[in-house]
Amino acid sequence: MSVTVHKLTFSSAWLLALAGCGFQPAPGELKLALDPRSRTALADAPGKEQELEALLVKYFGTREEPRYASIDSWKAAGVDPNQPEGSYPSLAASSELYRTQCLHCHGVEGGGDGPTSNTIDPKPRDFRRGIFKFTAVKDKSRPRREDLAVLLERGVYGTSMPSFLRLPQPEREGLVDYVRLLAIRGEVEGLLVQSWQDDEKLDDEAAVEALELVWERWQKAREKVIAFDGPIPPDSAAMRTRGRELYLDAKKGNCVACHGTEGHGDGALAYKTDARGRRTPAYQDDWGYDIMPRDFASGVFRGGSRPIDIYRCIYAGINGTPMPGLGEMKGPDGELLVSGDDLWALVHYVRALSERAE
């Protein structure tokens, strides 16, 4: 605790000191920093950190002037990601807005390590892996721009991520553009480090290859939207009963394993007893933080509480966490474990668990 406080005081004091002195960084000082993990990975390769930094500046620009380098395949396809898809003027303007609205939690590079990140739990998202938990898409896909826009509108209820409806829509679209750039930059950085470790390759060819791969992942998301054709099967006592059966059935939904019999997030699988006899979370998410399965009775669903929001979580799982997707999961006989109306039975049952006594 004292360490946290000390760090926070230090960083705040530092920011204040800079602000007070009218700090103006010299040109060239504004490049986005490397992920500490990249530094660790390249620690034994002298000069490679600088090369990686230079490549990232070349392909993504600086903090003040973020800019995708135009690559051949984009030119051929007539794609220019530097043109904002929304109505906010430019990536540079979006970057500035990001620094006033998002930086203090999500950090300059989107690493989820801003000055206030120490004070909150759950921690702010680290964009640099391209993994976002709450989206409308399946197959652990990257989010669509719309998914990020929804997060800005709705916030993530139950966390410190507020709704940003107080910003006009063009500004929110600008933020989406810039967050996407940070996420793509982070993923490319990770791939380049990988490329160095695997093939000792850290050059333009590797960068273009990585960028094309990551860009493709983000584009593919558009085909991955989870939706249900036709009106959703209505909630009913029979649906809830069916939902509970599936919820408890170890060979079907098996939600009970982590979420517990009454949905309090206290299932046997989710916790383990450590050497000193304490009950601790058994799993960590992709960012290394302890996972506590949702307590449905809290009435809080972070990814949205509409039936379709819960449906999508059950269908595709939650990216970056051990929550599996049931929508396309097959049993040993090759049949879908839970399908069609049964998925909705689960949705209605889980939503029923969130009801509170008046």
């Binding site: 409308a136 719309e146 507020p162 939706a227 249900f228 054709d229 009106p231 449906y311 029923a352």
Partner: protein
């Protein structure tokens, strides 16, 4: 030098009075009142401001005068006053009387605003049920409408982050709750401020008289993000309010197909 100090004192008093006078025209004062009970709060505010302002001018003016008089080379006694009983009675009784008077005149507006028996009643005489719940948490406002069944915390609840939409020209009762620490629900345009405590449901009510969008803010320092804990109150005609609920209800029934683009 003393003349300069005396002038500065006098100028300070003038500056403060000037700032009060011009504040409304320059947008430095409270925003326009758009709630039925706001006028009574404004009236109290003005009365208190007049009293405080008069004493401020008197005190600073006296200071300026005394300094000025000494600057002119004296005249008058400089002996300290001690054990002056009539004077002590005077400066105890006058402020005391003012405080008692304030305590008395605020009772009626306070009762109308805050007492639970002032919650507007429905046609059948029972207190109006809350239109919605407003949940505060670090650092945003989240509004929950009870949906078609009229019950909070059921599956047909409608969520509205950031935005509290209410019908204009009707008494509106809200139930406030906090998910973490103490917050305060503050709508300056309604002259309405109410602390929100974790673990306790607090009722407030207001009647907005003019359609529009008004700031909702947190008025209790609740953490580092307090400054950005903003929301909006949108007061709309009844029909538009119903349309808003209908829109939210449709979103609840979405099968997600509209996201395939």
């Amino acid at each position: 030098m003393r003349a300069l100090v005396a002038t500065l004192f006098a100028l300070f008093a003038l500056l403060v009075v000037w700032s009060f006078v011009v504040a409304p025209g320059r947008g430095w004062a409270m925003p326009e009142n758009v709630a039925t009970l706001g006028a009574s709060v404004d009236e109290l505010f003005d009365q208190i401001q007049w009293i405080v302002g008069a004493f401020f001018v008197l005190t600073v003016g006296l200071l300026a005068w005394i300094v000025w008089r000494q600057a002119q080379g004296g005249g008058g006694s400089r002996s300290p006053i001690s054990n002056h009983l009539p004077l002590e009675i005077f400066w105890t009784l006058v402020p005391g009387a003012i405080l008692v008077w304030l305590a008395l005149v605020q009772i009626a507006p306070w009762e109308a605003l805050k007492f639970s028996n002032s919650i507007p009643r429905a046609a059948d005489g029972t207190p109006k049920p809350p239109l919605c719940e407003v949940w505060a948490s670090q650092f945003d406002w989240h509004v929950l409408y009870p949906g078609a069944d009229g019950r909070f915390g059921s599956v047909d609840d409608l969520h509205s982050p950031y935005e509290l939409v209410v019908p204009v020209g009707e008494p509106v009762v809200l139930r406030l709750g906090s998910r973490d620490v103490i917050h305060s629900f503050f709508v300056p345009s309604f002259r309405l401020k109410q602390d929100v405590l974790p673990g306790r449901a607090t009722l407030v009510w207001f009647e907005c008289t003019k359609a529009g969008t008004y700031d909702l803010m947190c008025a209790e320092l609740c953490g580092w993000g307090h400054y950005k804990m903003a929301g909006a109150v949108r007061a709309v005609p009844r029909a538009e309010y119903e349309a808003f609920l209908a829109h939210k209800t449709r979103a609840l029934e979405s099968n997600g197909v509209e996201d395939r683009k």
